[in-house]
Amino acid sequence: MSSIPMEYYLILSAFMFTVGVAGVLIRRNAIVVFMCIELMLNSANLSLVTFSSYLGNSIGQVFVFFVMTVAAAEAAVGLAIIIAIFRNKKSVNIDEINIFKW
């Protein structure tokens, strides 16, 4: 287990988080944006599991279960919202969903 240093996992997790944030800011398809958000949550999960393993306490792993459950609930609601949008607009491109402007 401890043959791979903790930093490797953390760097991978930070990289995944950055990819997620960049994706949310750059991509225009609502579903892809949502996938990037899931990537952010999962990078946090990776960090939590890593810390849990190397600190030798289980709180982090328990936390991951809660995060996964919440992510599933969020996915259910989020996809329902995206479907509602698609029914009305026939598109899930964020740039076209812009009836509110100041």
């Binding site: 953390l10 997790s13 988080f17 997620g20 944030v21 949310v24 609502a30 944006v33 949502f34 958000i37 952010m40 949550l41 990078s43 946090a44 999960n45 960090s47 939590l48 890593t50 810390f51 600190l55 306490n57 709180i59 982090g60 328990v62 936390f63 809660f66 995060v67 919440v70 609930a73 969020e74 609601v77 989020g78 919202i81 995206i82 509602a84 949008i85 029914r87 009305n88 607009k89 964020i94 969903i97 812009n98 009836i99 509110f100 100041w102």
Partner: protein, 476 residues
């Protein structure tokens, strides 16, 4: 430390709401007229919880192995959430028919979101904060788009969902870093050893990411971009709920987490951050609100500005400022729910009649609505002797006590700017002739909600000491 069985008694507010949600679902499934039963059932439940919380305010314990706190500050927050939600439900009864979402699920979602807020305000462990936050947020995403046939509601719901989930991503990553450096998710541990942790750069990074996530939730600049669209597109009563109780819940978490910071005098980490976002929010919110014609959108920008005023208290970070924030949140809840309830009465079926023009000459159409709207606008602007004035007064004084005089000056200046757009509504209602010709059908339930909110605004404005004494007595 209370006995094991006694813990459940102390947790009664949360348990009442929890059982109530299950019963509501059963009512929804088994009866055909759930939309007529559930509002009254919800109101009864919210009032029972609010009363129970206030009666138990001195029973301040941390239960279940340091997971959740009851009594004290959480009791006051429970009071805000429950009374606020009860008023929102009262004003929704007739509004929902107009809005085309006359069904029972709406009330169940409100109940669940209130349970989430109550978990958040009592949380003494980051895990509880996260669970409460998500329970509240997911209900709000659905509530924002409760009418799936309206494209405006869809858009509001999707923007809220994407940016809310984005903020959740930040919060979880921040929690992961905090956990990694402290080895625990307990806030007790955080507050005891904060001075040790605060030298660790990863810990500070995690804390800042966590605070950024919550800055999204309180709608502070520069994390505010979702607020105007979501508040404008959602059902008006839902906006009233999100902008007041949702903000109060997010602030309750910030207060709990930052109390850990305040205890060890490590202001250097959080003070610059909160001073910056509070100054930006106040100035930006007040300036942009001036150019708004749509009242819901104007109140959204004013909500950003109010988040700024409250964040002054977080930057100041002393016991007096915490009391000030809680007072401000209570006052703001009643002012804003009242104002949104009035808009929901005037609004018509197609989301129109929410512009300034529609309010022109409101005095001649309905003197009571005009008078109440004027009262809420004066309160939001912070004109004494209404509750909004004392909220601002307490946070400004706390800023000066903490040598943040510049922030108090920025706050006073932006309140002066904000008087312009609040008073403009009053001027339009009383001194302009009616532009659009329509009849307002005033629902007696909504009017009752407006009047109750107005009474709270008046009482807390005329005798602020009663509430302030209660709040300061529970802050250690």
């Amino acid at each position: 430390m209370p006995q094991n069985n006694y813990e459940y008694f102390l947790l009664m507010p949360q348990i009442i709401i929890g059982i109530g949600i299950v019963l509501s679902v059963i009512i929804e499934i088994t009866t055909k007229k759930s939309e007529q039963i559930l509002p009254w059932f919800s109101i009864a439940m919210f009032l029972a919880t609010a009363v129970y919380s206030i009666l138990d305010i001195n029973q301040n314990f941390v239960l279940f192995g340091g997971m959740i706190e009851v009594g004290g500050k959480p009791a006051i927050f429970n009071f805000i959430f429950n009374i606020g939600a009860a008023l929102v439900v009262l004003s929704s009864i007739d509004y929902l028919k107009k809005y085309g979402t006359y069904f029972g699920e709406y009330y169940i979602l409100i109940q669940s979101s209130v349970l989430g807020m109550m978990v958040m305000s009592g949380a003494r462990d980051i895990l509880m904060i996260f669970m409460g936050l998500e329970l509240m947020s997911i209900c709000f995403y659905v509530l924002a788009g409760i009418n799936r046939k309206k494209f405006s509601a869809n858009e509001a719901s999707m923007k809220y969902f994407l940016l809310g989930a984005f903020a959740t991503g930040f919060i979880v990553y921040g929690i992961a870093l905090i956990y990694g450096t402290t080895g625990s998710t307990s806030i007790q541990n955080l507050s005891e050893n904060f001075s040790v942790y605060s030298t660790n750069i990863v810990f500070v990074l995690g804390l800042i990411i966590f605070l950024i996530g919550f800055s999204f939730k309180i709608a502070a600049v520069p994390f505010h971009m979702w607020v105007p669209d979501v508040y404008q597109g959602s059902a008006t009563t839902v906006t009233g709920l999100m902008s007041t109780t949702g903000k109060a819940a997010a602030f309750s978490v910030l207060i709990v987490v930052l109390t850990a910071v305040f205890g060890s005098n490590a202001h250097s980490v959080t003070r610059p951050y909160f001073a910056t976002i509070s100054a930006l929010s106040m100035v930006f919110g007040s300036m942009v609100a001036i150019s708004q014609n749509n009242l819901k959108r104007m109140l959204a920008y004013s909500s950003i500005a109010h988040a700024g005023y409250m964040a002054i208290g977080l930057a100041a970070g002393n016991a007096y400022s915490i009391a000030g924030i809680i007072f401000y949140l209570t006052a703001y809840a009643f002012m804003n729910i009242g104002a949104f309830a009035i808009i929901s009465i005037v609004e018509d079926e197609n989301d129109s009649r929410v512009d300034l023009n529609s309010f022109a000459g409101l005095h001649s159409k309905s003197p009571i609505l005009a008078a109440m709207m004027a009262l809420f606008m004066f309160a939001l602007a912070g004109i004494p002797p209404l509750a909004g004035f004392f909220g601002k007064y307490y946070v400004f004084v706390s800023a000066i006590q903490s040598n943040l005089t510049w922030l108090a000056i920025v706050g006073v200046l932006s309140s002066v700017i904000s008087v312009y757009f609040y008073i403009r509504v009053v001027v339009v209602m009383y001194f302009k002739d009616s532009v659009e010709d329509f009849k307002i059908t005033i629902s007696s339930f909504s009017l009752a909600a407006v009047v109750i909110a107005a009474l709270f605004v008046l009482v807390f404005g005329i005798v602020p000491d009663t509430l302030m004494n209660v709040i300061t007595s529970v802050i250690h």
